[in-house]
């Protein structure tokens, strides 16, 4: 499986995610934002975390309108995989690939900490290595991760099984104190209609090593690697 990792000015977790992809047998190539085309044979587009354009306008607003995003929208329309993490999630929302918006965290502060998630479904390209409702420990690092959408959108997401991950506590309890940023319905990540586009605030790419906090994030990249092999 081949991944194109997009690089906008101010993105800063591109190497973290490239490392996680490579570890799971997915070949990453860094692609500059001013390009008009994705590299030939791209299976997966990754929009990494960071502060594209400094987040000086609305987070992701400028990057969402970059040249390369036309190619990404076309790729998604063909059913290609697109993964946005953190600032990448914000960029996907701004580019129209995912609904909703990421507002400032409930307590108005940047939060970096380890965070538990519940895997809502394990039958997608991103989660097939996880178990049913598995509780995983990854980390968060964001100031604007509070997922908000109108009630019709939330209803659609819930009704169509498009919530990918929910914030929870270590025991797997959803609702209440496990939610770090005030996101509606404890939503940490969502899928597009066809489940090929995933946007999420937490960083699975930083928990891929037992020495550095644990390996619960690796399941997502292993899922992608396995999905690629099956597709090939």
């Amino acid at each position: 499986m081949k991944a194109a990792v997009l690089l906008f000015p101010g993105i800063n977790r591109e190497n973290d995610v490239a490392r996680a992809l490579a570890q799971s047998g997915v070949k990453p190539t860094i692609v500059w934002h001013a390009e008009h085309d994705l590299p030939q044979g791209t299976d997966l587009v990754v929009v990494p975390g960071g502060f594209s354009y400094g987040d000086y306008l609305r987070c992701g607003a400028i990057a969402g309108r970059a040249n390369i995003m036309d190619a990404v929208r076309a790729h998604a329309a063909r059913g290609g995989l697109v993964l946005g993490i953190c600032n990448g999630f914000q960029i996907l929302c701004e580019s129209g690939l995912l609904p909703g918006v990421l507002m400032r965290n409930r307590d108005l502060k940047f939060i970096c900490k380890e965070q538990h998630l519940r895997v809502e479904r394990h039958d997608t390209a991103y989660t097939n290595a996880y178990g049913h409702h598995q509780i995983i420990k990854v980390c968060i690092a964001h100031g604007e991760g509070n997922y908000v959408a109108d009630s019709a959108t939330i209803q659609t997401l819930e009704g169509e099984g498009r919530v990918a991950f929910r914030y929870c506590d270590a025991a797997g309890h959803v609702g209440g104190k496990g939610n770090p940023n005030g996101s509606m319905n404890d939503i940490a990540g969502i899928y597009s209609e066809k489940l090929n586009v995933l946007g999420m605030m937490p960083h699975p790419e930083n928990l891929i090593d037992s020495l550095i906090g644990g390996i619960d994030g690796r399941g997502m990249f292993d899922s992608l690697g396995a999905f690629g092999k099956r597709a090939a």
């Binding site: 101010g10 977790r13 502060f51 400094g54 940047f110 970096c112 550095i212």
Partner: protein, 737 residues
Amino acid sequence: MHRNEPEITPALVAEHGLKPDEYERILALIGRTPSITELGIFSAMWNEHCSYKSSRLHLRSLPTKAPWVIQGPGENAGVIDIGDGDACIFKMESHNHPSFIEPYQGAATGVGGILRDVFTMGARPVACLNLLRFGSPDHPKTRHLLEGVVAGIGGYGNSFGVPTVGGSVNFDTRYDGNILVNAMAVGIAKANEIFYAKATGVGRPIVYLGSKTGRDGIHGATMASAEFDDKSDEKRPTVQVGDPFSEKLLLEATLEIMAKGCVIAIQDMGAAGLTSSAVEMGAKGDLGIELDLDKVPCREEGMTAYEMMLSESQERMLMVLDPAKEEEAEAIFRKWGLDFAVIGKTTDTLRFVIKHQGEVKADLPIKELGDQAPLYDRPHVETPKQPVIDADKVNAPLPHDQALLKLVASPDQCSKRWVWEQYDHLILGNTVQQPGGDAAVIRLGDGPKGLALCTDVTQRYCEADPFEGGKQAVAEAWRNLTATGALPRALTDNLNFGNPERPEIMGQFVHCVRGIGEAARALDFPIVSGNVSLYNETQGRGILPTPSIGGVGVVADVTKTVGIGFRSIGETILLIGETKGWLGQSIYLRDVCGHAEGAPPPVDLAAERRNGDAVRALIGKGLVAACHDLSDGGLALGLAEMTMPYGIGATIADPAEGVSLTGWLFGEDQGRYLLACQTPDLEDVEANLRAAGVPFAVIGRTEGNMLALPGAAPISVRAMARAHEAWLPDYVAKAEA
């Protein structure tokens, strides 16, 4: 020659922070009255912050060399060899005055400045740390300053994309009017690919890179060299605004043109901006510099030569480029959307010449601007010695369990999670030991090599006995690195003191520096970079003398490092080092008994080294499950901090005869560690310690979920942890309520 420029009057000279005799020196040097631009340049180069005129004499005594030191003080940052062809580049710098005036931007630009110092030398930053000192929690400004500084440090570092992995936060009423914000950055480069400020070759292009120049920060360095008064808030316009996004672009573009071989010399524009960076590059290379200010990218119209030379706009660099690679370098900068302008050239005249709108605005001897800066041997008096406190005569006002509960939930000893959770400490995926321990450990690349990093100083010791306090600051940093299993290699210092024109303050400075030097020599822990911040006073009241130490250690294999938390039930706990029960200047005396007094604990450097070397060897052999250095709060607080991370209790035996129980529990004797080992390894551990001649005692074992100390009611670890975690968030919430 200069139309419409102000006349140089004694009042104008004084406004530039220059003393009458310093102005006489300028007249003698150039043989005429300076222009306003020249006066500005002199004031920028000769203020305390840039010239180190009060401190230089004493700093020379510090040990700065070792076989592994590649570059000591004098460049943008220090450089050490860490093996395998790699170098570690690091420095700490203060942004105290601007942070007090405008906490968010002051702290943010402090982080930006120190990051620039590190990547200017060709290093990719891999970690940031800080050391923060705030006023009393009860002071009306403290919450606002704390929140602003922490948000500013996070705001800059998080966006730039470097993990902030460690630090130190204390509160004391002596910082009420003058907080300390010391930021440290650490980077990695190939040992044979380090870039320096020294310009070479005549007629080569001098290139301006980065953000545009504005009117912000003019006279920032002069402000940082003066005492505060009640009108300091009016100085807000001299604080610059940070732009981490531009800095990130500057980092990537700079490293890219370095890799392409375009750069001959490079200097970041920090304090005193264009003036200091250009003079530095020329003077170091024995070359003149000629600048044409018409070519400087400006943010606003109509800026004068004076303003451009003194602007401290952020995220700017100056470089001497290989003329053959100018086009290639420019294309890289344009790709990143940054300004790139050839604004001058190197000359063989040894003059610093500034041209603007067809006029020569300054023409000064470049070497003398730096070399002939005033040098003062300021009068200094020694701090009177304090009496040694007899631990047997200290009455415990609280039962020991309650005293410990009070300490774990006190402003200085409580968990600083509220602070470091606002810093991205996990980016890069290499943070092996997270904030909250003795030192942070980061892996380099895919390992197994790594670095241990910490910042330390015990300012109350420094005030009571500057010499012992200086020693202790170095020893504690060395000990904190050692406690993870790292080999301490070098340090950076940030010497924060009051007004050096007062002999008692100068005495604190001189003796702290002597103590730092003595400890650094004894522990093979040289000083490779640093910064001096004087005049930390408000309305005549100085801060506690605070010589911050930033320590760097090398870890051969990060998988073998240990943290402070007890990991499992049934481990044996050992106390390493000698415990006499030294209560003078202890946290116990200050925060439980309510009187800060006495002589601080002396540091026996030979014992320090012996004990530390033995502990490090044990960790390297895989015989240690957890390790914690003992410092503030002594044995009792050290044990508490080891139980809390994983909620594992401990039962501790009675001390040996002849030591007061209060002193044994809360004394702050130096050179000590707590170790936990798997009980089957105990024999091996003891044999190693005996062979090394290290005093030690087996004091207990891990069990249950209570901490049971001798002569004290057992304490629930969970309740203790709750109190430990609660103080800071509760304190901040009170402000918002």
